[in-house]
Symmetry: C2
Subunit: 288 residues, 2 copies
DNA sequence: TAGGCAAAGTTGTAGGACGACTTACGTCAT
DNA sequence: ATGACGTAAGTCGTCCTACAACTTTGCCTA
Protein backbone atom coordinates (compact mmCIF):
# COMPACT_ATOMS: atom_id res chain seq x y z
CA UNK A 1 0.00 0.00 0.00
CA UNK A 2 1.71 3.08 -1.24
CA UNK A 3 1.74 6.10 0.96
CA UNK A 4 3.55 8.30 -1.50
CA UNK A 5 2.79 11.89 -0.75
CA UNK A 6 1.94 14.24 -3.56
CA UNK A 7 5.06 16.32 -3.63
CA UNK A 8 4.21 19.12 -5.97
CA UNK A 9 1.31 21.16 -7.05
CA UNK A 10 0.83 21.98 -10.65
CA UNK A 11 1.27 25.65 -10.25
CA UNK A 12 3.95 27.35 -8.25
CA UNK A 13 5.09 30.82 -7.46
CA UNK A 14 7.96 32.03 -5.42
CA UNK A 15 5.61 33.39 -2.81
CA UNK A 16 4.42 29.95 -1.83
CA UNK A 17 7.52 28.14 -0.77
CA UNK A 18 5.97 25.75 1.69
CA UNK A 19 4.05 23.07 -0.13
CA UNK A 20 2.23 22.17 3.03
CA UNK A 21 -1.13 23.74 2.35
CA UNK A 22 -1.36 21.96 -0.98
CA UNK A 23 -1.11 18.50 0.43
CA UNK A 24 -4.30 16.71 -0.31
CA UNK A 25 -6.01 15.20 2.66
CA UNK A 26 -7.22 11.70 2.14
CA UNK A 27 -10.50 10.39 3.33
CA UNK A 28 -9.81 7.98 6.12
CA UNK A 29 -11.23 4.81 4.75
CA UNK A 30 -9.87 1.47 3.65
CA UNK A 31 -7.79 1.90 0.54
CA UNK A 32 -10.00 -0.26 -1.61
CA UNK A 33 -13.31 0.44 0.00
CA UNK A 34 -15.96 1.32 -2.54
CA UNK A 35 -17.18 4.85 -2.07
CA UNK A 36 -20.71 5.82 -2.75
CA UNK A 37 -20.21 8.59 -5.25
CA UNK A 38 -23.71 9.83 -4.74
CA UNK A 39 -26.01 10.09 -1.79
CA UNK A 40 -29.30 10.16 -3.57
CA UNK A 41 -30.11 7.01 -5.43
CA UNK A 42 -30.89 7.65 -9.07
CA UNK A 43 -30.76 11.38 -9.56
CA UNK A 44 -27.68 12.22 -11.59
CA UNK A 45 -29.24 12.16 -15.00
CA UNK A 46 -30.57 15.63 -14.37
CA UNK A 47 -27.08 16.87 -13.70
CA UNK A 48 -26.29 16.33 -17.34
CA UNK A 49 -28.93 18.71 -18.57
CA UNK A 50 -27.56 22.00 -17.39
CA UNK A 51 -24.43 23.44 -19.02
CA UNK A 52 -22.65 20.34 -20.20
CA UNK A 53 -25.12 19.80 -22.98
CA UNK A 54 -22.52 19.86 -25.73
CA UNK A 55 -21.07 16.75 -27.25
CA UNK A 56 -22.24 13.20 -27.18
CA UNK A 57 -23.87 11.66 -24.16
CA UNK A 58 -20.79 9.67 -23.25
CA UNK A 59 -18.68 12.85 -23.33
CA UNK A 60 -21.14 14.54 -21.02
CA UNK A 61 -20.92 11.65 -18.61
CA UNK A 62 -17.15 11.70 -18.86
CA UNK A 63 -17.06 15.43 -18.17
CA UNK A 64 -19.33 15.08 -15.19
CA UNK A 65 -17.42 12.15 -13.72
CA UNK A 66 -14.21 14.01 -14.26
CA UNK A 67 -15.34 17.10 -12.43
CA UNK A 68 -16.57 15.02 -9.52
CA UNK A 69 -13.24 13.27 -9.27
CA UNK A 70 -11.42 16.58 -9.46
CA UNK A 71 -13.47 18.00 -6.66
CA UNK A 72 -12.32 15.16 -4.48
CA UNK A 73 -15.62 13.36 -4.26
CA UNK A 74 -13.64 10.14 -4.58
CA UNK A 75 -10.25 10.01 -2.94
CA UNK A 76 -7.23 8.91 -5.00
CA UNK A 77 -6.80 5.16 -4.97
CA UNK A 78 -10.40 4.51 -4.07
CA UNK A 79 -12.78 2.56 -6.22
CA UNK A 80 -15.56 4.02 -8.28
CA UNK A 81 -19.00 2.45 -8.25
CA UNK A 82 -19.39 -0.34 -10.76
CA UNK A 83 -20.22 0.52 -14.34
CA UNK A 84 -23.70 -0.86 -13.86
CA UNK A 85 -24.28 1.33 -10.82
CA UNK A 86 -23.06 4.43 -12.61
CA UNK A 87 -25.24 3.60 -15.58
CA UNK A 88 -28.30 3.33 -13.38
CA UNK A 89 -27.28 6.44 -11.51
CA UNK A 90 -27.09 8.54 -14.65
CA UNK A 91 -29.94 6.80 -16.41
CA UNK A 92 -27.83 5.76 -19.39
CA UNK A 93 -26.71 2.45 -20.77
CA UNK A 94 -23.60 0.67 -19.61
CA UNK A 95 -22.13 1.13 -23.08
CA UNK A 96 -22.22 4.89 -22.60
CA UNK A 97 -20.58 4.65 -19.20
CA UNK A 98 -17.87 2.39 -20.57
CA UNK A 99 -17.13 4.84 -23.37
CA UNK A 100 -16.87 7.65 -20.86
CA UNK A 101 -14.58 5.68 -18.57
CA UNK A 102 -12.37 4.67 -21.49
CA UNK A 103 -11.93 8.36 -22.15
CA UNK A 104 -10.96 9.10 -18.56
CA UNK A 105 -8.62 6.13 -18.55
CA UNK A 106 -6.80 7.37 -21.64
CA UNK A 107 -6.34 10.67 -19.88
CA UNK A 108 -4.75 8.84 -16.99
CA UNK A 109 -7.42 9.90 -14.58
CA UNK A 110 -8.64 6.45 -13.64
CA UNK A 111 -7.27 2.94 -13.73
CA UNK A 112 -9.54 0.15 -14.93
CA UNK A 113 -8.77 -3.34 -13.65
CA UNK A 114 -10.45 -6.33 -15.17
CA UNK A 115 -12.58 -8.14 -12.64
CA UNK A 116 -11.76 -5.71 -9.89
CA UNK A 117 -13.09 -2.28 -10.62
CA UNK A 118 -12.23 1.23 -11.71
CA UNK A 119 -9.91 3.19 -9.44
CA UNK A 120 -8.96 6.83 -9.29
CA UNK A 121 -5.33 7.27 -10.24
CA UNK A 122 -3.12 8.17 -7.37
CA UNK A 123 -1.94 11.36 -9.02
CA UNK A 124 -5.01 11.94 -11.13
CA UNK A 125 -6.00 15.10 -9.34
CA UNK A 126 -2.51 16.50 -9.51
CA UNK A 127 -2.23 16.78 -13.24
CA UNK A 128 -5.39 18.53 -14.11
CA UNK A 129 -3.45 21.38 -15.67
CA UNK A 130 -1.27 19.09 -17.73
CA UNK A 131 -0.17 20.47 -21.05
CA UNK A 132 -2.11 18.02 -23.10
CA UNK A 133 -5.26 19.51 -21.69
CA UNK A 134 -6.20 22.36 -23.96
CA UNK A 135 -7.17 25.51 -22.14
CA UNK A 136 -6.11 29.10 -21.99
CA UNK A 137 -3.39 30.24 -19.66
CA UNK A 138 -5.64 32.54 -17.69
CA UNK A 139 -8.18 29.78 -17.28
CA UNK A 140 -5.49 27.50 -15.93
CA UNK A 141 -4.25 30.13 -13.51
CA UNK A 142 -7.75 30.74 -12.23
CA UNK A 143 -8.37 27.06 -11.65
CA UNK A 144 -5.19 26.87 -9.63
CA UNK A 145 -6.65 29.35 -7.21
CA UNK A 146 -4.72 32.41 -8.31
CA UNK A 147 -5.99 35.62 -9.80
CA UNK A 148 -4.90 36.00 -13.40
CA UNK A 149 -4.35 39.31 -15.13
CA UNK A 150 -2.80 40.53 -18.34
CA UNK A 151 -0.98 43.59 -19.45
CA UNK A 152 -0.90 44.50 -23.10
CA UNK A 153 2.50 45.54 -24.26
CA UNK A 154 1.82 45.75 -27.94
CA UNK A 155 -1.12 45.26 -30.26
CA UNK A 156 -0.86 46.15 -33.91
CA UNK A 157 -1.77 44.77 -37.28
CA UNK A 158 0.94 44.00 -39.78
CA UNK A 159 1.77 41.64 -42.62
CA UNK A 160 2.44 38.06 -41.68
CA UNK A 161 5.96 36.76 -41.82
CA UNK A 162 6.86 33.79 -43.94
CA UNK A 163 6.91 31.40 -41.03
CA UNK A 164 3.59 32.67 -39.73
CA UNK A 165 1.98 32.36 -43.16
CA UNK A 166 3.12 28.81 -43.38
CA UNK A 167 1.80 27.81 -39.99
CA UNK A 168 -1.48 29.63 -40.33
CA UNK A 169 -2.05 28.54 -43.92
CA UNK A 170 -2.24 32.12 -45.19
CA UNK A 171 -1.47 33.83 -48.47
CA UNK A 172 1.85 35.67 -48.31
CA UNK A 173 1.53 39.18 -46.99
CA UNK A 174 -1.86 38.72 -45.38
CA UNK A 175 -2.68 40.93 -42.40
CA UNK A 176 -2.38 39.64 -38.85
CA UNK A 177 -2.86 41.01 -35.38
CA UNK A 178 0.37 40.97 -33.42
CA UNK A 179 -0.41 40.75 -29.73
CA UNK A 180 2.26 40.89 -27.06
CA UNK A 181 1.18 40.54 -23.47
CA UNK A 182 2.51 39.75 -20.04
CA UNK A 183 0.60 37.21 -17.97
CA UNK A 184 0.34 37.65 -14.22
CA UNK A 185 -0.76 35.40 -11.39
CA UNK A 186 -1.50 37.25 -8.18
CA UNK A 187 0.42 40.21 -9.53
CA UNK A 188 3.54 38.24 -10.37
CA UNK A 189 4.56 37.76 -13.95
CA UNK A 190 4.62 34.12 -14.99
CA UNK A 191 4.72 34.26 -18.78
CA UNK A 192 5.12 36.45 -21.84
CA UNK A 193 2.65 35.70 -24.58
CA UNK A 194 3.10 36.43 -28.29
CA UNK A 195 -0.05 35.78 -30.29
CA UNK A 196 -0.51 36.12 -34.02
CA UNK A 197 -4.08 36.17 -35.31
CA UNK A 198 -5.26 36.54 -38.92
CA UNK A 199 -7.52 39.56 -39.23
CA UNK A 200 -9.30 38.25 -42.31
CA UNK A 201 -12.44 37.18 -40.51
CA UNK A 202 -12.41 39.84 -37.81
CA UNK A 203 -13.79 43.36 -37.72
CA UNK A 204 -12.32 46.37 -35.94
CA UNK A 205 -14.42 45.97 -32.84
CA UNK A 206 -13.25 42.41 -32.30
CA UNK A 207 -9.66 43.39 -32.80
CA UNK A 208 -10.09 45.87 -30.00
CA UNK A 209 -11.62 43.29 -27.67
CA UNK A 210 -8.83 40.85 -28.45
CA UNK A 211 -6.33 43.09 -26.80
CA UNK A 212 -8.09 43.37 -23.49
CA UNK A 213 -10.06 40.25 -22.67
CA UNK A 214 -9.64 36.57 -23.33
CA UNK A 215 -8.81 35.90 -26.94
CA UNK A 216 -10.65 32.63 -26.84
CA UNK A 217 -13.83 34.29 -25.65
CA UNK A 218 -13.84 36.54 -28.68
CA UNK A 219 -13.36 33.57 -30.93
CA UNK A 220 -16.29 31.88 -29.27
CA UNK A 221 -18.59 34.70 -30.29
CA UNK A 222 -17.86 34.11 -33.95
CA UNK A 223 -18.32 30.39 -33.72
CA UNK A 224 -14.69 29.36 -33.56
CA UNK A 225 -13.99 26.87 -30.81
CA UNK A 226 -10.47 25.59 -30.26
CA UNK A 227 -10.37 21.84 -30.69
CA UNK A 228 -6.70 20.98 -30.97
CA UNK A 229 -3.30 22.55 -30.75
CA UNK A 230 -0.03 21.31 -32.12
CA UNK A 231 2.77 22.46 -29.86
CA UNK A 232 6.52 22.31 -29.77
CA UNK A 233 8.54 22.69 -26.61
CA UNK A 234 11.83 24.50 -26.37
CA UNK A 235 14.22 25.82 -23.80
CA UNK A 236 15.14 29.43 -24.46
CA UNK A 237 17.69 31.70 -22.91
CA UNK A 238 17.42 35.28 -24.07
CA UNK A 239 17.24 38.85 -22.82
CA UNK A 240 15.15 39.97 -25.80
CA UNK A 241 11.89 38.41 -24.71
CA UNK A 242 10.73 39.93 -21.47
CA UNK A 243 10.10 43.55 -20.54
CA UNK A 244 8.93 45.69 -17.67
CA UNK A 245 10.00 45.98 -14.06
CA UNK A 246 9.51 42.29 -13.30
CA UNK A 247 11.71 41.19 -16.16
CA UNK A 248 13.46 38.04 -14.89
CA UNK A 249 17.18 38.24 -14.35
CA UNK A 250 18.37 35.04 -15.91
CA UNK A 251 16.23 35.20 -19.04
CA UNK A 252 15.45 31.50 -18.96
CA UNK A 253 12.12 30.41 -20.43
CA UNK A 254 10.17 27.36 -21.41
CA UNK A 255 8.72 28.09 -24.83
CA UNK A 256 5.40 26.63 -25.88
CA UNK A 257 5.29 27.19 -29.63
CA UNK A 258 1.87 26.24 -30.88
CA UNK A 259 -0.72 26.51 -33.59
CA UNK A 260 -4.37 26.35 -32.61
CA UNK A 261 -6.94 24.59 -34.76
CA UNK A 262 -10.71 24.71 -34.70
CA UNK A 263 -12.87 21.63 -34.96
CA UNK A 264 -12.66 21.68 -38.74
CA UNK A 265 -8.88 21.51 -38.62
CA UNK A 266 -8.34 25.11 -39.70
CA UNK A 267 -5.59 27.06 -37.94
CA UNK A 268 -6.79 30.30 -36.40
CA UNK A 269 -3.98 31.39 -34.09
CA UNK A 270 -0.25 31.01 -33.77
CA UNK A 271 1.17 31.73 -30.40
CA UNK A 272 4.50 31.61 -28.65
CA UNK A 273 4.22 31.50 -24.90
CA UNK A 274 7.41 32.05 -22.93
CA UNK A 275 6.96 30.75 -19.41
CA UNK A 276 9.38 32.03 -16.84
CA UNK A 277 11.32 29.02 -15.64
CA UNK A 278 10.35 28.09 -12.10
CA UNK A 279 7.16 30.10 -11.94
CA UNK A 280 4.89 27.87 -13.92
CA UNK A 281 5.10 24.15 -13.37
CA UNK A 282 4.38 21.91 -16.30
CA UNK A 283 3.26 18.42 -15.53
CA UNK A 284 2.78 15.66 -18.03
CA UNK A 285 1.23 12.31 -17.48
CA UNK A 286 2.78 9.78 -19.80
CA UNK A 287 0.89 6.60 -20.49
CA UNK A 288 1.46 3.56 -22.61
CA UNK B 1 -9.75 22.07 -48.06
CA UNK B 2 -6.62 22.67 -46.13
CA UNK B 3 -3.36 22.16 -47.91
CA UNK B 4 -1.19 22.83 -44.92
CA UNK B 5 2.13 21.19 -45.42
CA UNK B 6 3.71 19.28 -42.58
CA UNK B 7 6.44 21.67 -41.64
CA UNK B 8 8.44 19.73 -39.16
CA UNK B 9 9.42 16.24 -38.37
CA UNK B 10 9.39 15.03 -34.85
CA UNK B 11 13.03 14.40 -34.63
CA UNK B 12 15.73 16.70 -35.83
CA UNK B 13 19.49 16.84 -35.92
CA UNK B 14 21.80 19.47 -37.21
CA UNK B 15 22.97 17.22 -40.00
CA UNK B 16 19.59 17.22 -41.67
CA UNK B 17 18.91 20.84 -42.42
CA UNK B 18 16.65 20.37 -45.41
CA UNK B 19 13.30 19.07 -44.35
CA UNK B 20 12.58 17.92 -47.86
CA UNK B 21 13.06 14.19 -47.42
CA UNK B 22 10.74 14.16 -44.44
CA UNK B 23 7.78 15.57 -46.27
CA UNK B 24 5.12 12.95 -46.28
CA UNK B 25 3.75 12.14 -49.68
CA UNK B 26 0.01 11.97 -49.84
CA UNK B 27 -1.88 9.40 -51.77
CA UNK B 28 -3.49 11.16 -54.69
CA UNK B 29 -7.10 10.48 -54.07
CA UNK B 30 -10.13 12.53 -53.19
CA UNK B 31 -9.74 13.94 -49.72
CA UNK B 32 -12.66 12.07 -48.31
CA UNK B 33 -12.54 8.94 -50.39
CA UNK B 34 -12.70 5.79 -48.31
CA UNK B 35 -9.54 3.81 -48.58
CA UNK B 36 -9.52 0.07 -48.46
CA UNK B 37 -7.20 -0.55 -45.57
CA UNK B 38 -6.80 -4.16 -46.48
CA UNK B 39 -6.57 -6.04 -49.73
CA UNK B 40 -7.56 -9.46 -48.55
CA UNK B 41 -11.10 -9.71 -47.32
CA UNK B 42 -11.30 -11.10 -43.80
CA UNK B 43 -7.80 -12.00 -42.79
CA UNK B 44 -6.65 -9.54 -40.17
CA UNK B 45 -7.67 -11.47 -37.13
CA UNK B 46 -4.59 -13.59 -37.53
CA UNK B 47 -2.45 -10.49 -37.38
CA UNK B 48 -3.42 -10.12 -33.76
CA UNK B 49 -2.01 -13.45 -32.73
CA UNK B 50 1.66 -12.84 -33.16
CA UNK B 51 3.48 -10.47 -30.79
CA UNK B 52 0.72 -8.10 -29.78
CA UNK B 53 -0.95 -10.69 -27.62
CA UNK B 54 -0.73 -8.63 -24.46
CA UNK B 55 -3.60 -6.63 -23.12
CA UNK B 56 -7.27 -6.80 -23.88
CA UNK B 57 -8.60 -7.51 -27.33
CA UNK B 58 -9.59 -3.92 -27.92
CA UNK B 59 -6.08 -2.77 -27.03
CA UNK B 60 -4.63 -5.23 -29.49
CA UNK B 61 -6.89 -3.91 -32.20
CA UNK B 62 -6.00 -0.36 -31.26
CA UNK B 63 -2.31 -1.15 -31.41
CA UNK B 64 -2.64 -2.80 -34.77
CA UNK B 65 -4.72 -0.01 -36.25
CA UNK B 66 -2.29 2.51 -34.88
CA UNK B 67 0.72 0.86 -36.45
CA UNK B 68 -1.06 0.65 -39.80
CA UNK B 69 -1.90 4.32 -39.68
CA UNK B 70 1.65 5.16 -38.72
CA UNK B 71 3.03 3.22 -41.61
CA UNK B 72 0.97 5.40 -43.91
CA UNK B 73 -1.49 2.75 -44.98
CA UNK B 74 -4.14 5.44 -44.75
CA UNK B 75 -3.18 8.96 -45.77
CA UNK B 76 -3.87 11.82 -43.35
CA UNK B 77 -7.34 13.23 -43.81
CA UNK B 78 -8.66 10.08 -45.42
CA UNK B 79 -11.46 8.04 -44.02
CA UNK B 80 -11.06 4.71 -42.31
CA UNK B 81 -13.34 1.83 -43.20
CA UNK B 82 -16.56 1.83 -41.22
CA UNK B 83 -16.58 0.29 -37.79
CA UNK B 84 -18.60 -2.61 -39.10
CA UNK B 85 -16.09 -3.31 -41.86
CA UNK B 86 -13.18 -3.21 -39.45
CA UNK B 87 -15.04 -5.50 -37.08
CA UNK B 88 -15.59 -8.05 -39.82
CA UNK B 89 -12.03 -7.62 -41.00
CA UNK B 90 -10.59 -8.42 -37.58
CA UNK B 91 -13.22 -10.94 -36.66
CA UNK B 92 -14.28 -9.06 -33.53
CA UNK B 93 -17.43 -7.29 -32.48
CA UNK B 94 -18.17 -3.71 -33.34
CA UNK B 95 -18.05 -2.82 -29.65
CA UNK B 96 -14.42 -3.89 -29.50
CA UNK B 97 -13.59 -1.81 -32.55
CA UNK B 98 -15.36 1.18 -31.04
CA UNK B 99 -13.36 0.85 -27.84
CA UNK B 100 -10.16 0.71 -29.82
CA UNK B 101 -11.09 3.73 -31.91
CA UNK B 102 -12.04 5.69 -28.80
CA UNK B 103 -8.53 5.07 -27.57
CA UNK B 104 -6.96 6.30 -30.80
CA UNK B 105 -9.24 9.31 -30.77
CA UNK B 106 -8.18 10.30 -27.27
CA UNK B 107 -4.59 10.13 -28.46
CA UNK B 108 -5.46 12.55 -31.24
CA UNK B 109 -4.66 10.04 -33.92
CA UNK B 110 -8.08 9.93 -35.51
CA UNK B 111 -11.13 12.13 -35.65
CA UNK B 112 -14.54 10.51 -35.26
CA UNK B 113 -17.49 12.32 -36.82
CA UNK B 114 -20.99 11.24 -36.04
CA UNK B 115 -22.78 10.03 -39.14
CA UNK B 116 -19.80 10.60 -41.36
CA UNK B 117 -16.95 8.33 -40.42
CA UNK B 118 -13.57 8.13 -38.74
CA UNK B 119 -10.76 10.16 -40.27
CA UNK B 120 -7.03 10.12 -39.76
CA UNK B 121 -5.93 13.38 -38.13
CA UNK B 122 -4.07 15.65 -40.45
CA UNK B 123 -1.04 15.73 -38.18
CA UNK B 124 -1.62 12.39 -36.58
CA UNK B 125 1.43 10.82 -38.10
CA UNK B 126 3.60 13.74 -37.09
CA UNK B 127 3.25 13.36 -33.38
CA UNK B 128 4.05 9.75 -32.91
CA UNK B 129 6.91 10.64 -30.61
CA UNK B 130 4.83 12.98 -28.54
CA UNK B 131 5.84 13.16 -24.93
CA UNK B 132 2.63 11.79 -23.59
CA UNK B 133 3.40 8.55 -25.35
CA UNK B 134 5.44 6.49 -22.94
CA UNK B 135 8.45 4.84 -24.49
CA UNK B 136 12.16 4.79 -23.97
CA UNK B 137 14.41 7.34 -25.61
CA UNK B 138 16.31 4.78 -27.64
CA UNK B 139 13.09 3.25 -28.83
CA UNK B 140 11.89 6.64 -29.98
CA UNK B 141 15.13 7.33 -31.78
CA UNK B 142 14.99 4.02 -33.55
CA UNK B 143 11.44 4.59 -34.71
CA UNK B 144 12.50 7.92 -36.12
CA UNK B 145 14.87 6.12 -38.44
CA UNK B 146 18.08 6.89 -36.62
CA UNK B 147 20.51 4.55 -34.98
CA UNK B 148 20.53 4.99 -31.23
CA UNK B 149 23.50 4.31 -29.02
CA UNK B 150 24.51 4.99 -25.46
CA UNK B 151 27.73 5.66 -23.65
CA UNK B 152 27.95 4.99 -19.96
CA UNK B 153 29.66 7.76 -18.10
CA UNK B 154 29.03 6.57 -14.59
CA UNK B 155 27.35 3.61 -12.94
CA UNK B 156 27.62 3.13 -9.19
CA UNK B 157 25.48 2.25 -6.25
CA UNK B 158 25.07 4.70 -3.44
CA UNK B 159 22.56 5.82 -0.83
CA UNK B 160 19.51 7.65 -2.11
CA UNK B 161 19.23 11.35 -1.51
CA UNK B 162 16.30 12.80 0.34
CA UNK B 163 14.56 13.94 -2.82
CA UNK B 164 15.07 10.60 -4.49
CA UNK B 165 13.76 8.72 -1.49
CA UNK B 166 10.65 10.82 -1.51
CA UNK B 167 9.94 10.32 -5.19
CA UNK B 168 10.72 6.62 -5.20
CA UNK B 169 8.91 5.95 -1.95
CA UNK B 170 12.02 4.53 -0.27
CA UNK B 171 13.26 4.30 3.27
CA UNK B 172 15.94 6.93 3.97
CA UNK B 173 19.41 5.74 3.08
CA UNK B 174 18.33 2.89 0.85
CA UNK B 175 20.70 1.85 -1.93
CA UNK B 176 20.18 2.99 -5.49
CA UNK B 177 21.96 2.57 -8.80
CA UNK B 178 23.16 5.90 -10.13
CA UNK B 179 23.38 5.70 -13.89
CA UNK B 180 24.72 8.54 -16.01
CA UNK B 181 24.71 8.09 -19.74
CA UNK B 182 24.92 10.04 -22.97
CA UNK B 183 22.37 9.25 -25.65
CA UNK B 184 23.37 9.38 -29.29
CA UNK B 185 21.44 9.36 -32.54
CA UNK B 186 23.55 8.52 -35.57
CA UNK B 187 26.64 9.29 -33.53
CA UNK B 188 25.50 12.71 -32.42
CA UNK B 189 24.68 13.38 -28.79
CA UNK B 190 21.07 14.37 -28.24
CA UNK B 191 20.56 13.92 -24.52
CA UNK B 192 22.21 13.26 -21.18
CA UNK B 193 20.35 10.77 -19.05
CA UNK B 194 20.52 10.49 -15.25
CA UNK B 195 18.69 7.46 -13.94
CA UNK B 196 18.23 6.43 -10.34
CA UNK B 197 17.06 2.87 -9.71
CA UNK B 198 16.47 1.18 -6.35
CA UNK B 199 18.64 -1.92 -6.06
CA UNK B 200 16.38 -3.60 -3.55
CA UNK B 201 14.81 -6.02 -5.98
CA UNK B 202 17.81 -6.42 -8.26
CA UNK B 203 20.78 -8.78 -8.15
CA UNK B 204 24.33 -8.06 -9.23
CA UNK B 205 23.93 -9.50 -12.67
CA UNK B 206 21.00 -7.28 -13.46
CA UNK B 207 22.81 -4.22 -12.21
CA UNK B 208 25.53 -5.00 -14.71
CA UNK B 209 23.07 -5.39 -17.57
CA UNK B 210 21.39 -2.12 -16.64
CA UNK B 211 24.48 -0.20 -17.51
CA UNK B 212 24.86 -1.53 -21.01
CA UNK B 213 21.51 -2.36 -22.58
CA UNK B 214 18.04 -0.94 -22.33
CA UNK B 215 17.01 -0.43 -18.75
CA UNK B 216 13.42 -1.20 -19.60
CA UNK B 217 14.33 -4.54 -21.10
CA UNK B 218 15.93 -5.61 -17.85
CA UNK B 219 12.84 -4.56 -15.95
CA UNK B 220 10.75 -6.63 -18.31
CA UNK B 221 12.62 -9.77 -17.35
CA UNK B 222 11.62 -9.39 -13.72
CA UNK B 223 8.01 -8.66 -14.52
CA UNK B 224 8.06 -4.91 -14.17
CA UNK B 225 6.37 -3.14 -17.05
CA UNK B 226 6.24 0.64 -17.13
CA UNK B 227 2.65 1.79 -17.18
CA UNK B 228 2.80 5.48 -16.39
CA UNK B 229 5.22 8.27 -15.79
CA UNK B 230 4.70 11.55 -14.03
CA UNK B 231 6.94 14.16 -15.60
CA UNK B 232 7.85 17.77 -15.04
CA UNK B 233 9.32 19.99 -17.71
CA UNK B 234 11.96 22.60 -17.13
CA UNK B 235 14.32 24.79 -19.05
CA UNK B 236 17.87 24.48 -17.77
CA UNK B 237 20.98 26.42 -18.55
CA UNK B 238 24.09 24.94 -17.01
CA UNK B 239 27.64 23.87 -17.79
CA UNK B 240 27.58 21.18 -15.11
CA UNK B 241 25.41 18.70 -16.94
CA UNK B 242 27.10 17.57 -20.11
CA UNK B 243 30.53 16.00 -20.64
CA UNK B 244 32.70 14.62 -23.37
CA UNK B 245 33.92 16.04 -26.66
CA UNK B 246 30.46 16.77 -27.97
CA UNK B 247 29.51 18.82 -24.95
CA UNK B 248 27.23 21.57 -26.29
CA UNK B 249 28.55 25.11 -26.12
CA UNK B 250 25.56 26.99 -24.82
CA UNK B 251 24.58 24.49 -22.14
CA UNK B 252 20.87 24.87 -22.84
CA UNK B 253 18.67 21.86 -22.11
CA UNK B 254 15.08 20.80 -21.89
CA UNK B 255 14.78 18.77 -18.73
CA UNK B 256 12.30 15.93 -18.47
CA UNK B 257 12.14 15.17 -14.77
CA UNK B 258 10.09 12.05 -14.27
CA UNK B 259 9.17 9.16 -12.05
CA UNK B 260 8.20 5.88 -13.67
CA UNK B 261 5.46 3.69 -12.25
CA UNK B 262 4.56 0.10 -12.97
CA UNK B 263 1.02 -1.07 -13.48
CA UNK B 264 0.47 -1.39 -9.76
CA UNK B 265 1.34 2.23 -9.23
CA UNK B 266 4.69 1.55 -7.61
CA UNK B 267 7.59 3.82 -8.58
CA UNK B 268 10.60 1.93 -9.88
CA UNK B 269 12.80 4.56 -11.51
CA UNK B 270 13.50 8.23 -11.20
CA UNK B 271 15.18 9.82 -14.15
CA UNK B 272 16.27 13.22 -15.26
CA UNK B 273 16.76 13.48 -19.01
CA UNK B 274 18.48 16.59 -20.28
CA UNK B 275 17.75 17.01 -23.98
CA UNK B 276 20.09 19.26 -25.88
CA UNK B 277 17.97 22.16 -27.11
CA UNK B 278 17.45 21.96 -30.86
CA UNK B 279 18.51 18.37 -31.29
CA UNK B 280 15.42 16.63 -30.07
CA UNK B 281 12.08 18.02 -31.05
CA UNK B 282 9.25 17.63 -28.61
CA UNK B 283 5.78 17.69 -30.01
CA UNK B 284 2.60 17.74 -28.02
CA UNK B 285 -0.89 17.34 -29.26
CA UNK B 286 -3.27 19.25 -27.05
CA UNK B 287 -6.93 18.34 -27.12
CA UNK B 288 -10.01 19.54 -25.33
C1' DT C 1 -31.47 26.27 -61.95
C1' DA C 2 -32.33 26.23 -57.15
C1' DG C 3 -34.35 24.13 -53.50
C1' DG C 4 -36.04 20.36 -50.99
C1' DC C 5 -36.77 15.64 -50.03
C1' DA C 6 -35.63 10.88 -49.58
C1' DA C 7 -32.43 7.13 -49.13
C1' DA C 8 -28.25 5.07 -47.89
C1' DG C 9 -24.37 4.90 -45.01
C1' DT C 10 -22.09 5.82 -40.51
C1' DT C 11 -21.60 6.65 -35.74
C1' DG C 12 -24.09 6.85 -30.98
C1' DT C 13 -26.92 4.49 -27.56
C1' DA C 14 -29.70 0.75 -25.63
C1' DG C 15 -30.58 -3.85 -23.51
C1' DG C 16 -29.47 -8.40 -22.56
C1' DA C 17 -26.31 -12.12 -22.24
C1' DC C 18 -22.16 -14.60 -21.26
C1' DG C 19 -17.00 -15.18 -20.62
C1' DA C 20 -12.78 -13.87 -18.03
C1' DC C 21 -10.76 -12.20 -14.13
C1' DT C 22 -10.36 -10.78 -9.20
C1' DT C 23 -11.45 -10.99 -4.53
C1' DA C 24 -13.36 -12.73 -0.32
C1' DC C 25 -14.79 -16.38 2.34
C1' DG C 26 -15.68 -20.81 3.96
C1' DT C 27 -14.11 -25.60 4.02
C1' DC C 28 -11.01 -29.21 4.69
C1' DA C 29 -6.80 -31.54 5.62
C1' DT C 30 -2.56 -31.04 8.04
C1' DA D 1 -4.52 -23.19 14.93
C1' DT D 2 -2.91 -22.90 10.29
C1' DG D 3 -2.41 -23.20 5.53
C1' DA D 4 -4.14 -24.80 0.98
C1' DC D 5 -7.89 -25.28 -1.80
C1' DG D 6 -12.33 -24.63 -3.86
C1' DT D 7 -16.36 -22.01 -4.36
C1' DA D 8 -19.22 -18.07 -5.03
C1' DA D 9 -20.09 -13.33 -5.76
C1' DG D 10 -18.77 -9.15 -7.87
C1' DT D 11 -16.78 -6.63 -11.79
C1' DC D 12 -14.90 -5.69 -16.23
C1' DG D 13 -14.42 -7.49 -21.33
C1' DT D 14 -16.77 -8.95 -25.31
C1' DC D 15 -20.64 -10.25 -28.20
C1' DC D 16 -25.22 -9.78 -30.45
C1' DT D 17 -29.17 -7.30 -32.12
C1' DA D 18 -31.70 -3.31 -32.73
C1' DC D 19 -32.71 1.38 -33.27
C1' DA D 20 -31.83 6.52 -32.95
C1' DA D 21 -29.15 10.55 -34.53
C1' DC D 22 -26.49 12.49 -37.89
C1' DT D 23 -24.16 13.24 -42.51
C1' DT D 24 -23.76 12.88 -47.26
C1' DT D 25 -25.33 12.00 -51.71
C1' DG D 26 -28.23 12.30 -55.35
C1' DC D 27 -32.51 12.42 -57.34
C1' DC D 28 -36.74 14.79 -57.86
C1' DT D 29 -39.66 18.66 -58.10
C1' DA D 30 -41.13 23.41 -58.56
Amino acid sequence: MSTRTPTSGVFDTKTRSATGPRVRNRVEVGDDAPVSISDRSTANRSALNAPSKSGSLSRQVARHLRSRIMQGEVSPGARLPSETEIAVDYGVSRVTVRTAITLLESQGLVDVRHGSGTFVSDFGTEIKAGIQELRSITETIREMGFTPSMERHKGETRAASEQESKRLDLMPGEQVLDLQRAVYADGEVVAYSFDVIPTKTLDAQMLERMGHGSVFEVFETIGITPARAMAELHAVSSQEIAWGPQKPEQGLFLLLDQVHFDKDGKPFMYSKSYFVEGRFQFVILRTR
